[in-house]
């Protein structure tokens, strides 16, 4: 298929960016979206132009590096996937595809489609851990039975890949789904109880400091999340925060 691409180009974080049109031809429907971008970049390199910078690494939907906003949707027009798992069979010959970076005040653009997600790092550094030394001198793993239900629910929250699609999708650029997932993973496990109050307070405070917006329960984040992280995690985080503040 032949396509027109409208891509956000921005030389660096200080430069003024703009949408630029490109044409690509003979794109196979079996290609992944990023392989289509590889074709474009090979074309640009061979014609002496600057290729489009974009984040990507594992190309199997787990590292959370890729981050494009395609035709107005984080990770494009398919559900339960990252950009690297999007395939060209979702598009038609002659389509015009708009490709932007993830947009949020807390995710400044570094170059073209690459954004800075260090805010997520700082939130996790504020409390996204259990304070146990890695000495190996802990108790035997099976001395602490954890109900299958709790373990499964914690696992569901822990599958978050930290890509930031929730933030990019949210009209308020809220990071509540991301933070809710991390808080929930530990809140659901007995190991996480000791520090639960401090954890949720510190992580939420850091989230606010980073300039993310508030949650207004629209639910778009859950729909666009490549890992299907549920809104329940936001509710759980709110409960945890309330509990922490009144105790």
């Amino acid at each position: 298929m032949n396509l027109t691409l409208k891509i956000w180009r921005q030389k660096d974080s200080n430069a003024k960016g703009q949408m630029v049109d490109y044409k690509v031809t003979d794109i196979s429907e079996h290609m992944s979206f990023l392989e289509m971008m590889d074709v474009l970049n090979e074309q640009l390199v061979n014609s002496g132009e600057d290729p489009v910078a974009f984040d990507h690494d594992c190309r199997e939907g787990i590292c959370g590096m890729c981050s494009m906003y395609i035709n107005g949707e984080a990770h494009g027009p398919d559900r339960g996937i990252t950009t690297c798992q999007l395939h060209m069979r979702m598009f038609n010959d002659g389509d015009t595809i708009t490709i932007e970076p993830f947009r949020a005040a807390a995710f400044p653009v570094i170059k073209d489609l690459v954004v800075d997600r260090m805010a997520f790092e700082r939130i996790q550094q504020a409390g996204g851990y259990i304070s146990v030394n890695t000495s190996g001198n802990t108790q035997d793993a099976n001395s602490l039975p954890i109900s299958k239900h709790a373990a499964d629910e914690a696992m569901d929250a822990a599958t978050c890949i930290g890509c930031g699609a929730c933030v990019a999708t949210c009209k308020n650029s809220s990071a509540m789904l991301f933070v809710g997932a991390k808080v929930s993973q530990y809140a659901l496990l007995p190991q996480g109880q000791v520090e639960a109050a401090d954890r949720v307070k510190n992580m939420v405070a850091q989230m606010d400091l980073e300039g993310f917006g508030n949650c207004t329960n629209t639910g778009a984040c859950e729909i666009e999340c490549p890992k299907g992280i549920s809104l329940d995690n936001i509710a759980r985080m709110n409960r945890e925060l309330m509990k922490a503040n009144i105790s």
């Binding site: 196979s28 392989e35 190309r59 260090m118 550094q125 035997d140 914690a154 599958t159 890949i161």
Partner: protein
Amino acid sequence: MALDSKVPKGPIKDKWTDYKNHIDLVNPANKRHIDVIVVGTGLAGGSAAATLAELGYNVKAFAYQDSPRRAHSIAAQGGINAAKNYQGDGDSTYRLFYDTVKGGDYRSREANVHRLAEVSANIIDQCVAQGVPFARDYGGLLDNRSFGGVLVSRTFYAKGQTGQQLLLGAYSAMNRQIARGKIEMFNRHEMLDVVKVDGKARGIIARNLITGEIERHSAHAVVIASGGYGNVYFLSTNAMGSNATAAWKIHKKGAYFANPCFTQIHPTCIPRSGDYQSKLTLMSESLRNDGRIWVPANMEDAKAIQERKLKPTEIAEEDRDYFLERRYPAFGNLVPRDVASRAAKERCDAGFGVNATGEAVFLDFASAIERYGKTQAKVQNINNPSAEKIYELGQAIVEEKYGNLFQMYEKIVDENPYETPMMIYPATHYTMGGVWVDYNLMTTVEGLYCIGEANFSDHGANRLGASALMQGLADGYFVLPYTIGDYLSDDIRTGKIPTDTKEFDEAEKEVKERIEFFINNKGTKSVDHFHKRLGKVMWDKVGMARNEKGLKEAMAEIKAIREEFWKEVNVPGSANEMNPELEKAGRVADFLELGELFAKDALVREESCGGHFREESVELDGPQKGEAKRNDKDFAFVSAWEYKGEPADAVLHKEELEFKDIELKQRSYK
């Protein structure tokens, strides 16, 4: 220089304990005067950085991604082995040790492997304490699954995302230390050289991938945890950015490179679909617990399948060749990876492949769905369940176990693997070879360590499934923190290592000159063009089956591609900006050298063992006819290569392997 593995004396089961009891320690007050650089933040590097920081050292950690959590350990699916014997099925430290040495086709160092088995159980305790949500049974205890090449169930898992969960555990431990200021984290940084002062590793030169700035970082010791070199094949299950640059740079500065030809071709990956393909996707080995691998038994059926005139579900049971079950009745679909890959290639080469290119076999879940469905019907007291009901119940179980893998497959291939068998084919996955290290995990350069997949140590010629995560975390959490302390105890009075010295000047100059060369070369061909050509030579001539003629050709061809690369490579943009093409150019330049050494190593090793299969070395008769033939008399050694300029001029050093605790036997899975 003679190789000294520094394996402690004494009985194998006491070596590690005695060693720990007798090493020098650094007192807590002195640790804060000592800096350690860790390059790479996957399971090995992340766990090492966190533990060293907890102990009190000042750690500087480097990752080329925007977060340590994105290192490619994140993509490991199936699980992590540990000799817990929770299932009571006869597992023990000795069995894990034995299985790993045997699975590695007797080409690993006994003492290292035994230590790995000893600390394995502790890894699970540690991860659970960190909040890693491993799968559990209804009683609340940890669940296990089986993996290839063993007869016990010792693999712990978190759905099909075990690597992700373990890495997030190590990452959370890192975050705790980053918050305390004990780890200084350098995201989006790439190490481009190591700096040696008086023969010791004392720092690195790194490039800030956002600004292009070249930075100097000093430390009392340097730890390389940068993963494997599978991307030398261009197509592999590695991440796009996975590279050998850190490992190759230290090789050029004196670290020997061991067993480069020991590379794992994983049997269950999604087959390639076209020339544009950028990477291959693994389908976890855990699928072989329940999936059965087959091709049509008759050539007419195979042809019809290839031409899409027949559906796999239309082929009757008796017309299917479950070739692993046929050839290896004892282990069946759970033979080790090298054996499974070669068997698939054998069927496809004979014309029985099941896709248009003839390079695919089926992985079928129909019988597992039926089996689970019947069990569930009993559990739920459903009498005389219909076939539909059984299917529905069984599908739910399979979905719970492997749901994310099935979804991944469907998104890539556009076929529903619950309804039609998956198509799979072997692909490059893991490199057992790597930087040579002694028992302390130190390379042949003093103060320079190498851990995880980047080193060569524990898997011999073939790694068993679910052992990579085990080794990465063992090295980082439990081994390196002891061994490096013994070395650093001599450095308590050294003081900060200055970076304004001639050694740093020279290393930085070299790095800058190479970058300038790429930017100014203005050639005619892209970096990927050369990488793809290298990959094709590697796959065709240094892939699943190798022979003398092909290897000699490969060495010459790789050298020619390398020479052309340095003349014709085109890198757009400038040095002082984010420039992904420049990053790739540096990495491919290193792969173009490593590839040739790889072929040379394969040429020298005139035996078949593990993932290294020489067509000249097969069993000619007896019950093992057609199987790989190892030659212990002449090749029971580790090849450790010393850099001498051109890869073809590398000098071979041999570390002879002694097997005192395990009898050398032919590896039979029949």
